[in-house]
Structure formats: structure tokens, C-alpha cells
């Protein structure tokens, strides 16, 4: 799909915003400041001392920098244990999402077999089925299988090809010319071989996008870990961070909290700045697949 590569347009008349250059910059800067303000404020709180955050009226910047918060805060929620848990769940879910959705999308777009249209229809329909339907039955199922309080319920679904990722990957497969696999076929290559040797390298933008979206979903997920994990040693960071304030009541914990919060945000932020192009273009592609 061509929209995957979002090309910047030259200054053109296509947008009916009759803004002058100066007004445009002023508006953008104003919006940017208000978008960034909460984050700057968070960094400031994370550096304030215990006495400083109780001060009234509050000052925007810390009087002195208390770097200790970045040690004490994480220790309060056993941060590194939870980080390890979150990393395991996120890594395996991301691998599962990429592998399963790429394989299924290949089957739906490059192999012709009876029933293909039907299954594509079913999978496309599943995009619109609200996940809330699985909430209680799946929790009961995992309880009965003895898988509650393990990472399996958080990882297994990723290996079962999320419909929206299949749709995205399929769109990409459809944009690859037919003759490529046909000539490989004539040379006697199997579908698996065509998939792994030819298609995977050709569809790099698609699976990087899927990987990023799967990473984000897994790293951010709150409801599923809340339902499936029970012992605090198995918690993911989302659960740990949400319980932070509840467990350590009182406003005095907020500098610790914000410091820990910042550490929790760092991995996705780092990934974003490394692969910014794929984040933004991938989401655009996902949104326009309905076209």
C-alpha cells in the first residue's frame, strides 16, 4: 500500500487553513509548549526533595536536585524485578505478533485455496469484535488450565495472529507483484521458502510497524496483567506503577513516583526516537487500511 510511505508534500494549497507563516509558527509553538509542559513538570517533580514538594505555593522548578529519588523510588516497587517481567512478556508478545500475523497474512494473500475468502472475511470481521467479550471466559479458562499467575495468558494471544495486524500485513503483501513468487514457484520453491527467503525481506516496513505496535500494546497493557497476575513478584510495571500511590499513600511519595514513572517511560521513548519513522508512518498506514 502506497500510503505506508507518507511523503511530505511541498508547501501547497491543499490545506484550507488560511494561516500566514507567522501565525502558523506561533500556533504550533504554543501547542507544543502546552503538550510538553506536563512532561517538563514531571521531570521537575522527580528531582524535588521531600520538603520541596510540600512547599506552598509550589515552585515550578526544584530548589536543589535530589537525584536520590531515582534510587529510592524504584526500590519501593521492586522496579527491576518488574522491569524484567515486563521485558519478558513484551519481547515474547512482540515476536509472537510479528511471526503469527505475517504467516497468516501470507496465507491469505499469496496462496489460493478454497475457503480463503471466507477466513479472510472472518478475520476482518474480528477486528470489530470488542475484546471485552473474552474477559471472563478466558480468565476462567486460564484458571482451569492452571495458567493463572503465569505469563502464558499475556503471551499466548500474541501468537494467534491479531486480526488488525493480519489486515495490515495482508495489505502490504498484496502490493508485491505476483510474478515474484510465480517465478520462484517455477524454480520449485515451496511456499515456506518463498515466505522466509523472499517475502520477509521485502515486507520489512510492515513487520517493523507490527513489532512496534505490538511492543507498545504489551508494554502499556494494564487490564490483562491486572486480571491474570496475582503475586507481586510476577507483576508487570503497569501494575506496579498503578499500585504505587495506593500502597505508599500521602503526597510525599510523588517525587519518588515521578522519578520511577520516568524510568518506566524510558524504553518506549528510546524506541520511539530510534524508529520514529516507523512509529508514525506505521500508525498512518494502519489508519488508512480501511480505504
Amino acid at each position: 500500500m502506497s500510503a505506508i510511505v507518507a511523503r511530505p508534500r511541498p508547501l501547497s494549497s491543499q490545506v484550507p487553513l488560511a494561516l500566514s507563516r507567522v501565525a502558523w509558527y506561533a500556533l504550533c509553538v504554543l501547542l507544543a509548549i502546552s503538550m510538553l509542559l506536563p512532561l517538563v513538570w514531571m521531570v521537575s517533580i522527580s528531582l524535588k526533595s521531600n520538603g520541596d514538594i510540600q512547599q506552598l505555593p509550589p515552585s515550578f522548578f526544584p530548589k536543589e536536585f535530589d537525584w536520590q529519588n531515582y534510587v529510592i523510588g524504584p526500590a519501593k516497587i521492586n522496579f527491576f524485578r518488574l522491569l524484567l517481567n515486563t521485558a519478558i512478556v513484551t519481547l515474547l508478545s512482540t515476536i509472537g505478533s510479528v511471526v503469527s500475523s505475517m504467516i497468516v497474512a501470507y496465507g491469505l494473500s499469496r496462496i489460493s485455496f478454497p475457503g480463503r475468502k471466507l477466513w479472510f472475511g472472518i478475520i476482518a470481521f474480528s477486528i470489530f469484535v470488542p475484546p471485552v467479550i473474552g474477559l471472563i471466559p478466558l480468565q476462567q479458562l486460564y484458571i482451569n488450565l492452571g495458567l493463572i499467575d503465569t505469563f502464558v495468558p499475556l503471551i499466548l494471544p500474541a501468537f494467534l495472529a491479531s486480526p488488525i495486524f493480519v489486515y495490515l500485513a495482508r495489505q502490504y503483501f498484496l502490493s508485491i507483484p505476483r510474478y515474484i513468487d510465480e517465478s520462484a514457484m517455477l524454480d520449485g520453491a515451496s511456499h515456506w521458502r518463498i515466505f522466509t527467503r523472499i517475502m520477509v525481506p521485502l515486507t520489512r516496513p510492515a513487520w517493523i510497524t507490527i513489532a512496534i505496535l505490538a511492543f507498545q500494546f504489551s508494554w502499556n497493557d494494564y487490564l490483562n496483567p491486572l486480571i491474570y497476575l496475582q503475586s507481586s513478584d510476577n507483576f508487570t510495571l503497569a501494575i506496579g506503577m498503578a499500585s504505587f500511590i495506593g500502597d505508599h499513600a500521602g503526597d510525599s511519595a510523588y517525587n519518588y513516583y515521578m522519578a520511577t514513572n520516568l524510568l518506566y517511560m524510558l524504553p518506549p521513548l528510546a524506541l520511539f526516537f530510534l524508529a520514529q519513522r516507523y512509529f508514525m508512518e506505521g500508525l498512518g498506514a494502519l489508519g488508512t487500511t480501511g480505504k
Partner: protein, 323 residues
């Protein structure tokens, strides 16, 4: 799996009378079919396990008294009757859900489109602004929400600090039953960069020639927007609307972290109530049967809204080259 059989059978019959060397091509056909199904097997398993199985079992359980520990007991429509006539929290919760959906979805659609129009220009620095506007989307929901919980803190929070600075009246924010819901929606608007990026991709996929032709005909900017941009963006807007409604109806994390459904029932979204009925009170008063019935009410609402929107939209939007 019975759905899988008819096309297979039909196809085999069609192949029967065809002349030529029978055995080999047919065997190859079966091999291809088998390969195809092996490839899509994860998708089939996902549908059966994550969609079909929960849908069927939960429909049954919604008509039972069930605590998850002892076998479910059929009690007919009791759950639904209790929900609609006796449960003191159900109607307020449904009302809060409707209020939330009607507030957050239009707000983020409009804000997303305006922001997309703003950054759809070739001026220097536009990429930096796009990145800044998108930045909050990258952050984990729980991290964002607890940050905002402190921002809304009446005494030490940033929100009142800013209002104070501008000489505006301050607010109790999440502690005020009238302000709490809009405050939750403001947090969503902070993350509108995701919608912006999707709409931006949509704006950039509109063929440039259409605008050029319209300009030759003397169409003004507003006219071009209404006559070209909106119709060409139609499918994207509708898909985005459907997905956002879908998500908004199932919002849980926002209120779980920010408000715990309060004050009173002001932000007790149906999804949060379902969680409380089904899981949070699990030890003291397990009511999985009842929570499942609530899930079905929410499920039907979402499916009806989705179906109506998709039906209406296919009638009114420009259908591009079908994918």
C-alpha cells in the same frame, strides 16, 4: 470447523468432470489447500479461542448464577431483570459511559483532524512539531494517568497552578463530580497525536490533481475542503470513528487509575463496573454470571453502533478502488 467444509466439497465436485490427467493435479491442489490452511492456522485458532469460544460460553453464562467456583446454575433472565430494574449502579453507569463516549470521541476526532490539517504543511520545522504532538502517544497509559492524577491534585498540582497564574478560578478536578469526566477526557486529548497521524496519512493520500483542478475552476479553500478533502477522507474518518467508539465504550484504565469510578458514580464507566462485579469483589461476592450479562449488554451496544455506522457510511462516502 463445519464452516470450512462446504467450499472444499463444492470445489472437488467442480473438478470432477474436467478432462485430463486426474490424479496429479488434484493431489497438488490438496497439497496447496493443506499448505494454505497450515499458514492461516494461527488465525483460525485465534478466532476459535479468542472470539467464538468466549462469545458462546459467555452468552450461556449470562443466563446463570455463577461464581466461578461451583457450577453455574441456570436462572433465565434474572441477571438482566436485576440489571435493568434493581441494580442501583447500572443506569448511572450506563449514563456515565454514554456521556464519556459522546464527549471523548467527537473531541478527539475534531482535535485530531484540526491538528492534522495544521501539520500538513511543508514549512521548515513541521517534522519537529509532528514529533512533539505525537510524543504523548508513545508513553505508557498508566504512566500518563498517574502523572495527570498529580497534575489534577488541587493543592500541589500543575493544573491549578496554571489556572492561578492566569487569574482563573481553580477547581477540585477529579474530586468534583461535574469536572471529573471532562478532566478524564482532557487526558485523552493530550494523546490525540495518534489520531492526528492517521488523519495526516489520509490527507496526504488525496490525489493532488483534484485540488489543482478545483483551483482552476476557482474553488476556494473551504469549498475544496468540503468538496474534496472530506469525501476523499470519508472511509478513513468512518473507520477511525468506529474504532474510537469501540475503544471508548471499553475504556477501563483511565478511570481505574484516575478516579476509581468516583466521585460517587460520576465516572463509573460500564467497563469499570464489569471489572468490579466480576473480579474485584471476587473473594467476597463473586458474581461472574451477572458480570457476564453486563458484558453482553455492552457487547450488543458496541456491535449495534458499529453496524449502524458502517451501514450508513457505505451509503454516503466515496468508495475508492476497493482493496
Amino acid at each position: 470447523m463445519s464452516t470450512l467444509n462446504p467450499p472444499l466439497v463444492a470445489d472437488a465436485r467442480q473438478a470432477e468432470p474436467r478432462p485430463g490427467p486426474g490424479a496429479r493435479p488434484r493431489r497438488r491442489r490438496w497439497r496447496t489447500t493443506l499448505t494454505g490452511y497450515l499458514f492461516i492456522a494461527p488465525g483460525i485458532a485465534g478466532f476459535l479461542l479468542l472470539v467464538l469460544y468466549p462469545a458462546i460460553t459467555s452468552l450461556y453464562h449470562s443466563f446463570t448464577k455463577w461464581n466461578g467456583l461451583t457450577p453455574a446454575i441456570w436462572n433465565g433472565l434474572d441477571n438482566y431483570v436485576y440489571m435493568f430494574t434493581k441494580d442501583p449502579v447500572f443506569w448511572p453507569s450506563l449514563g456515565a459511559t454514554a456521556y464519556y463516549v459522546l464527549l471523548t470521541v467527537p473531541a478527539s476526532m475534531v482535535a485530531g483532524l484540526l491538528l492534522a490539517l495544521l501539520v500538513n504543511r511543508g514549512l521548515r520545522g513541521v517534522r519537529v512539531f509532528r514529533t512533539i504532538f505525537y510524543l504523548p502517544v508513545v508513553l505508557p497509559a498508566v504512566a500518563v494517568l498517574t502523572l495527570w492524577k498529580y497534575i489534577y491534585e488541587p493543592t500541589y498540582g500543575l493544573a491549578n497552578e496554571v489556572l492561578h497564574l492566569l487569574h482563573l478560578p481553580t477547581s477540585m478536578w477529579l474530586g468534583d463530580a461535574h469536572v471529573a469526566m471532562p478532566a478524564v477526557v482532557i487526558v485523552n486529548i493530550w494523546g490525540v497525536g495518534g489520531t492526528m497521524i492517521i488523519f495526516l496519512a489520509g490527507l496526504q493520500s488525496v490525489p493532488q490533481e483534484l485540488y489543482e483542478a478545483a483551483m482552476l475552476d476557482g474553488a476556494g479553500a473551504v469549498r475544496r475542503f468540503i468538496r474534496i478533502t472530506l469525501p476523499m477522507m470519508g472511509p478513513i474518518l468512518v473507520l477511525q470513528l468506529v474504532l474510537q467508539l469501540n475503544g471508548a465504550f471499553q475504556t477501563f484504565t483511565q478511570v481505574a487509575v484516575l478516579t476509581k469510578g468516583g466521585p460517587g458514580t460520576a465516572t463509573n464507566l460500564l467497563m469499570y463496573k464489569i471489572y468490579n462485579d466480576g473480579f474485584a469483589d471476587f473473594i467476597s461476592a463473586p458474581q461472574l454470571g451477572y458480570a457476564t450479562a453486563e458484558v453482553w449488554v455492552l457487547f450488543v451496544i458496541i456491535m449495534v453502533v458499529t453496524a449502524v455506522l458502517l451501514r450508513v457510511s457505505t451509503r454516503y462516502t466515496y468508495e475508492g478502488d476497493a482493496a
